[in-house]
Subunit: 383 residues, 2 copies
Amino acid sequence: MTADVVFVGGGVIGLSGAWAAARAGLSATVVDPAPGRGSSWVAAGMLAPVTEATFGEEHLVRLLVAAAGRWPDFAADLGSATGTDVGYRPCGMVVVAADPSDRSVIDQLLGYQQRLGLAARRLSGTECRQLVPALAPGVRGGAEMPGDHQVDNRKLVGALLEACGGAGVTFVADRVTAVVTGPDGAARGVHLAAGGDLPAGAVVACAGAATPLLDGVPPGTFPAVRPVKGHVLRLRGPADHPLLERTVRGLVHGRPCYLVPRADGRLVVGATSEERGFDTTVQAGAVHALLDDARTLVPGIDELELEESMAGLRPGSPDNAPFVGWTGVPRLAVATGHYRNGILLTPLTAEGIAAVLTGEPLPPPLDGFGPDRSTPTTAGHVR
Amino acid sequence: MTADVVFVGGGVIGLSGAWAAARAGLSATVVDPAPGRGSSWVAAGMLAPVTEATFGEEHLVRLLVAAAGRWPDFAADLGSATGTDVGYRPCGMVVVAADPSDRSVIDQLLGYQQRLGLAARRLSGTECRQLVPALAPGVRGGAEMPGDHQVDNRKLVGALLEACGGAGVTFVADRVTAVVTGPDGAARGVHLAAGGDLPAGAVVACAGAATPLLDGVPPGTFPAVRPVKGHVLRLRGPADHPLLERTVRGLVHGRPCYLVPRADGRLVVGATSEERGFDTTVQAGAVHALLDDARTLVPGIDELELEESMAGLRPGSPDNAPFVGWTGVPRLAVATGHYRNGILLTPLTAEGIAAVLTGEPLPPPLDGFGPDRSTPTTAGHVR
């Protein structure tokens, strides 16, 4: 049987895209040796359009704000479809400064965020400690972003796998090595590492940073994404006495750091940003840096269990924004380049993928985020 | 079948004791739910009578020096019996100081060690870096202990398991809850957690820090040992470009630290000393402290993979010395309290256990290290 569409990569983008495609009436297959166990598994699950807002990225900020707006309904839909609570937690975020220079950087960003109309307010050190009693006495103040939230990315992965199964999505536990094209140059399926081809009416390449490694298409078909390594730690404390009730981000002598508390007492601490190619080795220096910065902000982490140390690869793009849309190879679409915002962008990207495949217009927030930013594209939809 | 002797605990002490007993012609059984996977697995394998020498412990130092002298033959015997190279590596040790105060402590210890006639010489910072090029530029000098060596404790565990198997030692994968005594009050075997008794002609309690938890005997039968938690990290680098060629110990602002290089590029970093009862949780603060100190001495560890973070429980005794000999319960012997020196003391302790069981005199270095230091004892041997 030929699927209407095959998804190359079963991270949150591939899984949510396949679920959306299936709900739009398409038959969908996801190919991944270990669905949901790549960067989606390592991520922290912050839904943070405001704290991620950076100078010169107004375009991206608008996309992230729109993406955040999708989350309450998306989490509810997933909950209805699967009975799984994905841990969508509108807990807000506090950003704090370890030293006066960090404070100055946060103040500058705060002004920018406020000029963009984003919900953010300045906090004194005392106000920070009122919101987050576990903060170190030395914290020099910061800001509150009441609209930046979180989801449990691992519960999200589990729910998406279940939702896909329930919607009839097929899974192939293999790795795609190449896109298969016909005499007309259009995508007709994929070639599997184990051998053999999987025919499909269309192909969506959503393998994160590994997307451009796919063979079988002309050079330049895929937009320029690259792996940006991020170390993340998972700590564990008692669920009944959580150290933190809301996400704490911080700058520690110029180095960014976050601590995302889960309802079960776990705490996700991240993240480094390293240009090291396709390397997911957990390095001693990175673990040290994360612990050093996190305990500078919240000394109480010393007592928590260090449950996991991992590294994942963000799909970084030249302008830090994603690519969603058709490539220059007919019937080959792409959804990658989500960089630091893959979890946040999941619901909107899934909508976009479904729209692309069914010939509907893209959701307006995704306008301008096609791969034509960096590559020539064509058009083509499944029906 | 009734074994001549049952060993409660299959760490290096129980395994080496059982091997020695079997070689002395006794039938031996080792009871342990996971032989070799307790503190023996977490250990670093330093054979360091000189660098462990501490003020007021002359008695213990003499024991440790004698124990170190047993190692070349013991490693060779194990190699002959099993074909396994246990990684006995006469690489020497360098002890270095992170600051002038650390230097002063090392100098005082050095004087003490030299007064005891131990092989140790003072090194300038430059001399330290000549011996260990990977040392941080800020290291303030130290000392060399050319006779302090190492063994790969995990290879040791593997070889002992194999040697025991080859010598006919029986293994029972269970936990002992109690010593079983007869109407005469003498030990007759052990009771298993899974239910049922295991009869034996004699019992050797060698369950490390858990030894005093054994039921079935009068209070005070076992000497006072307690768990002293130690976090240890295992890093991994390239085998062909090892960061270190010899063991580095150091004091970092008063905190002790060691880095033990293995031939395969691995590096064991330890260790904390914590009084936390029977807790082997890996804690964020301890991992941070170890990394912080180790990279202060050898900055290059930042690039190594952090392969494992673990915690084990040293069997600490009131005077930091072991207890080997009969207890006050006839036919119940004990071998525990090895504290920081379990691997070093393994060959000598095994000799001692075999001597006790066969009614031979203890090896002279073990004189004075019976449990009668803290408890009343009796005598009794198997044959």
